[in-house]
Symmetry: none
């Protein structure tokens, strides 16, 4: 490949202190660089160019919180308890895709098939039992997703969990099926477990950086990560993480580089203010993210407000459009 | 979707104090909304319209207590120890279906085949060992149920159990087989385990609400839930459940909304008085339940009494009839 | 078994000349005698008692002529070209079941699921190529039928065809699947081929009697036969068929006896006059048939006329009602 | 069913002489009527509404002649020998999809994935050996098509061929896989064989009408048929076809009715003049066709001419747009 | 069902104190009631009527102690260490069947095949490790048993063990294979584990009653239970077991009723005196047992003594003969 690599890494300061670099817009990996099979490419292109803001960006609406957190997440905006709320929001707001569990696909997608791309999450768990051995069992298969007309599948890996070995083994079967059936594979890469807690915590650069790399190493096409939050707990991370003094943006850029040729989605997490949210989006896109996956920050708002915010996001994403290649 | 959503949620008060809302009859999900395959539709319609009280309602007679609790549940009415007692009661009382384990199907159903619809429960356990890691292993398969001429299958999910991951994985195989063979899938959604106990207990709204949603997310067609019992233990539930001051009916309506397009069956639980039982039924149906599943409240009575009660239930259910759509 | 056999054969004259026997109503095989699995029993009982004229009789509406004969059969009543015509007729006329190919099931049954029992025909052919090696390849599977919510499957055996070996082998797989999945198996037992033509033809007692016995021997639950037509061509049949001088009714009774514990359906064949048709039905039922399968004699009429005829058939069938046993 | 049937047949004259009926625009089957799974619906909607002329119409570019006829078809326009020619034409002309063999998909589609929907033809043959036993063996699988990101699969059935039994059996496996994986199934329904030749030939109404019905009966979602060509050879067709005196348009309408809830594609066949071609398109659409599949009539022209013609076709198709339902 | 139920339970006192009921001979389930497939029926009838004491009774000789307890059980009568000893005893004493592990079947049965029916036990364990998580792994398959010419298979379920879920799951596969291959299934239903010990112990009515019901629920055809031993430990059983004051015979009758349509075999257990042993047999048969399974009580005696005892048992069993139905 003669073209310049997407992520020719900028000099990464391994000395303390913020680097005075001018903001550089990082280039996202191209579909050609990712070496995708035709099926993965056709489906991914649909999300990146035919739906949502387009131009190679992704604006995903997840609605997996009902399983992962329980119905409590819907109390703020009770209308959002009915999954048609999110489906309608995704269609009206022109999202790139909606991401949810098999049950919400089987009972509702038939009314939206062909209108909005579907990402079926293939594993999940509740928040009730202890997270100490966090592991999400398979709740669906890649073949289920094909049958339902989905354009991608999702899988949550708990990096660092004591159950990581079962997780990796289970992931392998999903990755292999996704390859066999040409289905793009989105990995929710979540650091978890006691060991993570002791090494700076699940929001540390150490943990998120490692998780992003794990997704790349194991075969994800797209990786969803949280935006790292520098804190004093970083001092508990292994060296050299414990002595890096990076801004959040620098830390995130590092994560994007670790993700290599995986497209990076930034997680919204808990609901935050509008200014903060838009700043987070811009920072992410500046640093090479392909898009965002915002759930609670979308459907916990009144619908009109969510649609207004979506239009603002579309406007921002258009600035980052790049042609397919 | 232009039709009104089945569960367009009523405003859910997130401030303390019972809301002075007038009782509103909620609309049950229609077969068309549920997106069922022709096989699931044909079989489910049989239960909802051709047997039992009809009009889209369900009156199910379960006889799984012999395995789940042991023969002790039959002491009150010794005649009920013989499974022909329940089969006869289901036939004479015109129940929508009888629900039981594979052994009771293989040894007795041949005498009732074609007279009463059968739901084969596909997993089970005894009450003898500790419930700490509650998990019900498969005791039969969807193909067994097809071979026996059943019209639905049942599966118990222990939401919140430390064994939840094995449970979800096992459930996935049942869900996929049920989809492949057009067999409606009824989920007994039971909160269980130490973590549940610490968060308000298995009869709390928190636990039941979450369990109903899990059934929807994982792909149930029908979910059996207990009626939530508000108590001071709710204070131990996570926010905002710990500060909701809902009546039992308001809490149940919330559960029905969380179940989305799953039809909701209300569990009878331990034997209660007639007035209380009929009030529970009316409240459930007012709030969107599709029917009830009453075992001990039926077969722990003398048969004549059970049949009288069944006639009363039929009369009530007729008030809630709705045409197929 | 101490109960009287269903088919204790009446003395069968093996000397020439019609026997002056008084008409005796033959007893049909009971479900108990047939040794059915619970699934076959539950499904068959639905056709025999819950739909159609009931009382253990069958009134089946086939619509397989579009494949077997081509659209030409619909010219007489053009409205019948649209399969909803036959579905509506079956529902309005309260037939025991409708019998058709997988394509007509997949594209139309979803609108009738639960309203009318479905028999999926699992093999078929067109009438275009020569019938010399008549063989109907599988077009669907028993599992397809289960998935679609059918209550029985159908299979055409061409008895006497040079391809009979492939046919028997293919039939074996269907019979085994039907047993495994509890699905009643209806066999269209058709004599075919040059050898049949040389031995009295496909409407001879020799051929039809042999075909009925083949269905019994190979494992059918229900066999559809044509009413034998005595003719001078019988002289070409092997002895003693070539010297029997039976009336049509006597010949048919013989066929029913050869079918043993298979329920017998009489084929309508080409459209005939009303008086002749009703006489054929009475004769068949008198001699032990379980029912009739009339296609062209139904849907080649204007709908009002077909419904009138259906009501007459219901009235006749009620005379032959017998309780389940 | 309360909605009007898609194909409520117009009165079909069964007496000789052209019927003086006014042209009536026939209604095409809706996606809802077709009873499609969510996957089939999502994919089919893409072809019908997101690509090509849209509005529920189809404009398909086939390039299967290289296998079926050999490279001789490319002599007229040598540039068309390179498959990128047709891919580019499909993309520039905004066709609904391109239809071709597995090899042309594997070697070329990676450059067009996501830009133009793909239909993989799953069987094929050359024109070299005798067509007497015409049979197209599988060259790919539905799973291949899924892997490649196709939105539909194609299969050629040779109706009337002496090999029809092998063909039906092979088709069954494709139909079942397409159902399992949610992939729309397009059937090229071609009358073939000596028996067809003796009964009016493969362009007779008899043959094409029968072929359309076979596709419906066996489970096609879309059927490609030739426009029937009335001729004196019709006299050799079986009655009543041998005495019908229909115009081409009347004959075609008959075929559309026989296809029932299959969407109908009209074949272009050999290259014809522009005026004739556009008239054929209008006539087809007036009579209920969903679209056309024109190969040689497209890529045997110079590209500029093909694109001009394509624009004219788009303009015509827009007149026939109907919203999804 | 018009026939009297096999187990119409006698009034079960739920007040303390022995009920002054007269001894009633209970009716054993008939083969017809059990709903057996022809294969299960043919094989079971061989044991019940053609071998052993006949008349629908069972006298089984088990020799599984070598695996379950170790060779120590053979010290009392060293000749019994050689498996030909038990085979010869079974043949000479005309037992209904011999029950043993796959190894004893493969190495010895070839000399006795056809002389004495064989029951292959399909799982087992040693007594060496702790019984706390008691679980018997599969040592053979139903297909092994068919291959060897066995007439039934045996399986040990440890009811109440913490490993109960693995046990149920493993049992399901055996039950399904036994159904598929028409092989009668004998369940050794043994209460085990710490929870059992805390609730009255493995010889309590609570434990044995529950175990018998579990066998019925999970699909056993025959269940082997121990005779319950009332003791003061019953006070630790859950209510109402802790306050029942039943005689051993009353307790056993209760167990038989809980077993429903499973035939009940009474276990011999440790060696006891002759008078006590014969009394136990009569009591068991009076209360509805189908037979006994005596190992150590047989082969720990000198052979002549064992044969004499066998003759006495035959005499007793003849009093309980009932014709097949």
């Amino acid at each position: 490949m003669s073209e310049p690599a997407a992520h020719s890494p900028s000099p990464m300061p391994n000395v303390p202190g913020p680097a005075p670099v001018a903001p550089i817009r990082r280039v996202r990996p191209t579909l050609a660089q990712m070496g995708l099979s035709p099926g993965k490419k056709a489906r991914l292109k649909r999300l990146l160019y035919d739906h949502g803001p387009g131009g190679g960006t992704l604006l995903i609406l997840p609605i997996d919180q009902g399983l992962e957190h329980g119905p409590m997440d819907f109390f703020e905006n009770p209308a959002a308890l009915d999954p048609t709320y999110q489906y309608d929001l995704a269609r009206e707001g022109n999202f790139s895709a909606i991401a949810l569990q098999i049950g919400l696909a089987e009972k509702y997608f038939h009314e939206y098939a062909g209108d909005i791309p579907l990402i079926v999450k293939l594993n999940g768990k509740t928040s009730i039992p202890s997270d100490a051995q966090a592991f999400s069992a398979l709740t669906g298969t890649v073949e289920d997703a094909v049958r339902l007309g989905a354009d991608a599948v999702g899988y949550t890996v708990y990096v660092g969990s004591p159950s990581q070995d079962r997780d990796f083994a289970q992931f392998r079967t999903v990755r292999a099926d996704a390859e066999r059936l040409g289905m793009p594979l989105v990995v929710w890469a979540y650091p978890r477990g006691e060991a993570v807690a002791k090494k700076g915590g699940k929001e540390s650069l150490f943990a998120i950086d490692y998780a992003a790399r794990v997704a790349l190493e194991l075969g994800a096409d797209i990786v969803k990560v949280n935006f790292p939050v520098p804190s004093e707990k970083d001092a508990e991370s292994p060296p050299p993480y414990n002595s890096l003094k990076l801004t959040g943006a620098q830390a995130f850029r590092k994560v994007v580089e670790s993700a290599g040729r995986c497209l990076v989605l930034v997680s919204g997490g808990e609901r935050i203010g509008d200014v903060e949210m838009l700043a987070k989006v811009r920072a992410s896109m500046d640093d090479g993210a392909t898009g965002i996956i915002f759930g609670r920050n979308m459907w916990q708002r009144p619908k009109a407000d969510a649609l207004r915010m979506t239009r603002e996001l579309h406007a921002i994403f258009r600035e980052y459009a790049q042609p397919p290649a």
